[in-house]
Amino acid sequence: MRPASLRAQQLLSLPLLALLSPALRLIPGSPAAAAGRAAWLSPLAALPILLLYLGFLCLFCGRRGPEEGLAELCLRCLGQRAGRIFLLLAGLWLLLFAGFSLRAGAERCLLTVFPHASPAVFVLPLALLALWAALGKLRSVGRLARMLLAPLCALLLVLLLAALPNLHAGNLLPVTLYELPAALRGSPPVLEIAGILLLCPCFFLDRAESLSFRGAALSLAGALALLTLLSAAVLGNFGAALTQKLRLPFFTLVRNLVFFRSLERVEALTVSLWVFPDLVLETLLLRAAARCLRAAFGSSGTMPEEPRLSLRGGRWLLPLAALAAAGIALTLAPDARSFARWSDELIPTWNLVFLALFPPVALIGKLRKKI
C-alpha cells in the first residue's frame, strides 16, 4: 500500500498541539521553583538549546533512507543487536511516558473540576480514543491537530488578555542580565517537553513531507513565545512564591477570570477543551512507542495503514501499547506526593536523558559509516 503523505504543516501541528497538554501542567510552576521571578523568561531561555537540538534532528533525519523513520535510522546506526535493545528501551520509555501523560490529563480534570471522581473515568476513555486515532490514518490526526491548533491558541490568547488587568509589574520586573542564569535554571521543564515532542514526529517521517529547519524553527519560536506570555500572565498575577505552590497555576488563573463582570467560572470549559491536546499527545506517543517496539521485534519498514480493525503488519502492538499505557496510568502514582515526584522529577529527568541519547546514536552511526 502506498504510504499516505502527511504535509509538513500537519506534521508540525502534531507536536505543537500536543505541547499544550504538558505545558500547562509544568509551566510556569516548575520554572518558578527554580528561577523565581525570572521564570517567565525560561521558555525564551530554552529557545537556543531547542534550536540546536532541532538542527541536529533535521541533519540526522536528513540521512534516512526511503521508507525509513527515526526508529529504522537508529537501527541502521547502531546495528541489529544494539539497535534493537536501544529501540526496545526507547519504546518502553515512550510507553511509560504515554501512561504518565494519560494520568496527568486525568489529574488535571480531578484537580480543577471533578475532585471526587476516579482517575479511571478519564484514563480509560482517553486511552480508547487515542487507540482509535492511532489505529486510523496519521494524516487524519495531523488534520485534527492543524484544525484545533489555531482555536486553542486563540483561546489561550483571550484568556491571557483577560488576565492582563490584574498583572502586577513587581511580580515580573526588573529584568536585567542577572536574571539570565535564573531563567536558564528554570528552562529544563521547557526543554524536556518541547524536545520530546519535537522528537516524536521524526518517527513518522517516512509518511510525511520532509521537515525544513526554517519552518520548524519558526513554529518552535512561536510556541515558546506563547509559553512566555502564558508564564508572564500567571506569574504577573500570582507572583513566583504562590505560583510554585499551586499544582496547576494556569487553571487557577482561569478560575479567577471574569469577563465583562458577568461571565465567570470558565475553567470547566477550558479544561474540557484540553482533552484535544491530550488526545493528540497520546496518539503521538502510542504510535511512536509502537513504531520503536515493532522495529525492536524485527519488523522494519513503514507500518502499513490498514483498516482500523486490522492488526496485521505489527499493528497488534497498538492495542497492546494502549492497554499498557492505561495500566501504567492507573497504577503509576497512588498518592499526590508520588504523582508530584513523577511529574516534577522523574519524568522530566528521564525525558532529558532520553533526548540526550540520540546525538551519540548519530555519532556512532557516523563512525560506523552507516549514515
Partner: protein, 363 residues
C-alpha cells in the same frame, strides 16, 4: 454503516438530555439547592466557627478546620443542599490571627469551588457570625450588602482591595499582608439596623494583627497606585472645611544611595490631581493645595513609619526601588528588609487642583 452507527450514538445520548437527575443518582435539582455566598470565620478556642450566609439564612458550625466545621454545619441544614461554588466574600471576625487567616487562604487555594480573587474582609470589632446574624435579622441580604460595599470600595476607596490570592502571595513573599478592615455600624436608613463601613486595613503578620486607619489607607493607596476617586475633607480655619475629590495620584519611588553603595533613603514623589467638591469661596487655592499636600504627606509618612516599625515591606517599596535601579539594588548586598529600619524618607508631594466644579474659586 457509518450513518447507522452515528444514529445509534445519538440515540444513546438521548437520556443525557433529560437533566442531571436522569444520569446521576446524587444530582440535585436547582430548587433544592441553597446558594451560600458569604463565608464568615471566627476563632473558637483551638477550633474555628464557620458561618455561611445566603438566600436570607445563616448557618454556623464548629470544627477543627473549615472542612470539619462545614460538615457540622451541613448536618444541621434542612433538606436543601448547600452550594458553595459561588461564594463571593470571606468575612473574618476581629479575633482573627495569622493562623486562622492562613487556614482560610489554604482552604480557598485548595477548594475547587472557591476562587482566589475572593475579597477578604476583617472586622475591626465583633464576631463575623454575630454580624452576619444581625444583618440577616435586619432583613439585609448579606451578599448584596457586601457586594455593594465592594463596588463602592473599588470606585471610591482610598486604597487597594486585596483578594485571597494577593493576601496569600503577600504572606508567602513578605511574611505580612494587608486585609481590608470593616467596622459594624448602624444602618443609614434605620439606626436600629446594622450595617458595615470601611475602616482602613488590618496588617497581618506572624507577630499578630495591627490596624491602619483611613489616613494611612490613603498612603497605602497612593503608594500602591490603586485607589478610586476618594474624597478628602480638610480643615482650613478660619474658612469653612473644604472637600476635595482626589481623582488621580501617581507615585514614583527612587532609591538614594550612600557613598559606600548602601541604600540610605527612599525618595517618593507623588503627583496628585483633585477637583474642588465643596469649599468656602474665599479659600485661596494655594492654601487648598497646601492642605491637600499636607494631608497626603502625613498619610504616607505615617504608613512608612508603620512599615519601618514592623520591619515588613507590606507596601512593596523594595520591589519598586529595585525596578528603579535594578543593578545597583542587586549590588547592595543586603535585603531591603534589612535596610528598612535605617532608611530615611524624602517625600515630595505636588498637587494640581484641576477645576472647581463650575463655581469660581478664589485666586
Amino acid at each position: 454503516m457509518k450513518k447507522a452507527l452515528l444514529l445509534l450514538l445519538c440515540l444513546a445520548l438521548l437520556p443525557a438530555l433529560a437533566g442531571c437527575g436522569a444520569l446521576r443518582a446524587g444530582s440535585v435539582e436547582v430548587e433544592r439547592l441553597q446558594l451560600m455566598q458569604t463565608m464568615g470565620l471566627d476563632p473558637e478556642g483551638e477550633a474555628l466557627r464557620l458561618s455561611l450566609a445566603g438566600q436570607g439564612s445563616i448557618l454556623s458550625g464548629d470544627g477543627a478546620n473549615i472542612t470539619a466545621a462545614s460538615r457540622a454545619l451541613r448536618a444541621q441544614a434542612s433538606e436543601k443542599l448547600l452550594l458553595t461554588g459561588h461564594l463571593r466574600h470571606i468575612l473574618l471576625g476581629a479575633e482573627t490571627d495569622a493562623a486562622l487567616l492562613e487556614t482560610a487562604l489554604d482552604y480557598a487555594a485548595r477548594s475547587p469551588d472557591l476562587r482566589l480573587d475572593l475579597p477578604v474582609f476583617l472586622l475591626r470589632e465583633g464576631r463575623a457570625e454575630e454580624l452576619l446574624r444581625e444583618l440577616a435579622a435586619g432583613g439585609e441580604d448579606v451578599s448584596s450588602l457586601l457586594d455593594s460595599l465592594e463596588r463602592q470600595l473599588e470606585t471610591c476607596w482610598r486604597g487597594p482591595l486585596p483578594d485571597a490570592g494577593e493576601i496569600l502571595a503577600g504572606l508567602l513573599t513578605r511574611g505580612c499582608a494587608l486585609v481590608t478592615a470593616l467596622t459594624p455600624c448602624p444602618a443609614a436608613e434605620d439606626a436600629s439596623r446594622r450595617s458595615v463601613a470601611p475602616a482602613g486595613y488590618a496588617l497581618i503578620s506572624g507577630d499578630g494583627v495591627s490596624w491602619l486607619d483611613e489616613g494611612e489607607a490613603l498612603g497605602v493607596g497612593l503608594l500602591d497606585g490603586r485607589h478610586g476617586v476618594c474624597e478628602l475633607t480638610l480643615s482650613l480655619a478660619p474658612y469653612r472645611p473644604a472637600t476635595l475629590e482626589l481623582e488621580a495620584g501617581h507615585s514614583r519611588v527612587s532609591p538614594l544611595w550612600a557613598e559606600d553603595g548602601s541604600l540610605r533613603a527612599l525618595q517618593i514623589e507623588v503627583e496628585l490631581e483633585a477637583v474642588i467638591r465643596e469649599a468656602d469661596e474665599r479659600t485661596p487655592l494655594p492654601r487648598l493645595s497646601a492642605a491637600l499636600e499636607g494631608a497626603v504627606s502625613e498619610g504616607i509618612r505615617r504608613v512608612f513609619a508603620r512599615e519601618q516599625a514592623l520591619g515588613c515591606d507590606f507596601l512593596a517599596l523594595g520591589e519598586r526601588a529595585e525596578r528603579a535601579a535594578p543593578l545597583r539594588f542587586r549590588r547592595m548586598g543586603r535585603s531591603f528588609d534589612d535596610c528598612l529600619d535605617a532608611l530615611t524618607l524624602e517625600l515630595r508631594v505636588h498637587s494640581l487642583l484641576r477645576h472647581a466644579n463650575d463655581l469660581e474659586a478664589a485666586p
